[in-house]
């Protein structure tokens, strides 16, 4: 079963993160790199990506003639995806354990950042929605 582990945050969270000291940020990135490597070694790694900052995010719809209409106005409370991991595991509990490890990534001063990680199953096919 494939699960996606997502790290989300508001713009305010991203602004806080941007203020971390260089040392704290490096420790966090080093943890993330080591974490991906561990997941590979454990044979559960499928993919990971990090996303650009929310201030570059756009919402896109189509005009009547199909031309894209872009908008970059989001509510303050909007949670932006910061990044994700996809893992292939035997059970949801195994996915939760991996998510807990991601949540323990070091924050300022090396303390656990304790960020919430949203865990969702990835569908094998659309029919898995049970429609």
């Amino acid at each position: 079963m494939k699960y996606i582990l997502m790290m989300n945050g508001t713009k305010a969270h991203f602004s806080e993160y941007a203020k971390w000291s260089k040392k704290d940020m490096e420790a966090n990135v080093a943890f993330m790199r080591a974490f991906s490597k561990q997941l590979k070694d454990e044979g559960v790694y499928v993919a990971t990506e990090g996303l650009g900052w929310p201030d570059q995010a756009k919402l896109v719809r189509a005009d009547k003639d199909g031309t894209p209409i872009t908008d970059g106005v989001f509510p303050e409370s909007k949670e932006f995806l910061a990044g994700y991991w996809i893992v292939d595991v035997e059970s949801p509990e195994q996915a939760y354990k991996i998510a807990a490890r991601a949540s323990a990534a070091p924050g300022p001063g090396g303390a656990s950042s304790n960020v919430p990680i949203e865990v969702r199953q990835v569908l094998g096919s659309h029919s898995d929605l049970g429609l």
Binding site: V60, F80, K97, R101, S103, A104, V115, V119
Partner: protein, 129 residues
């Protein structure tokens, strides 16, 4: 440049979607499948995934001992990721064009869903540091 196109919705939005007729859902999926094929042929397709229903979503934090604390309570207004596409394109505008194609995929009665698609650039860890 890689971009991720995110389709999100509230629980209420997902409930509406699953109540669509089979014909409407099939028509919707056919258009999205054609788009995937087109992007594969143009060499812009990187990946796509659909996520399970929001009512199965869990939030996890790590306890001191590293054991997971799980919670499935979300605000009503929470926008859940429903699925995404990753495309590798020459310009940001091309990513917007592809997103608008997804937005005009047909909904009930063949009327475009007009769903907003969030477009974000993908950055590697090394680029961020």
């Amino acid at each position: 440049m890689k971009y991720i196109l995110l389709m999100s919705g509230t629980k209420a939005g997902v409930d509406t979607y699953v109540a669509w007729s089979k014909k409407d859902i099939d028509a919707h999926m056919t258009v999205l499948k054609c788009l995937n094929k087109e992007l594969t042929e143009s060499g812009e397709f990187v990946g796509t995934e659909g996520l399970a229903r929001p009512d199965q979503a869990i939030v996890v934090r790590g306890q001191k001992a590293g054991m997971p604390i799980t919670d499935g309570i979300f605000p009503e207004a929470k926008e859940f990721l429903l699925g995404y596409w990753i495309v590798d394109v020459k310009t940001r505008e091309r990513a917007y064009e592809i997103a608008s194609r997804i937005s005009i995929a047909p909904g009930p009665g063949g009327v475009p869903t007009n769903m907003p698609i969030e477009v974000r650039q993908i950055v590697s860890l090394s680029a961020k540091s």
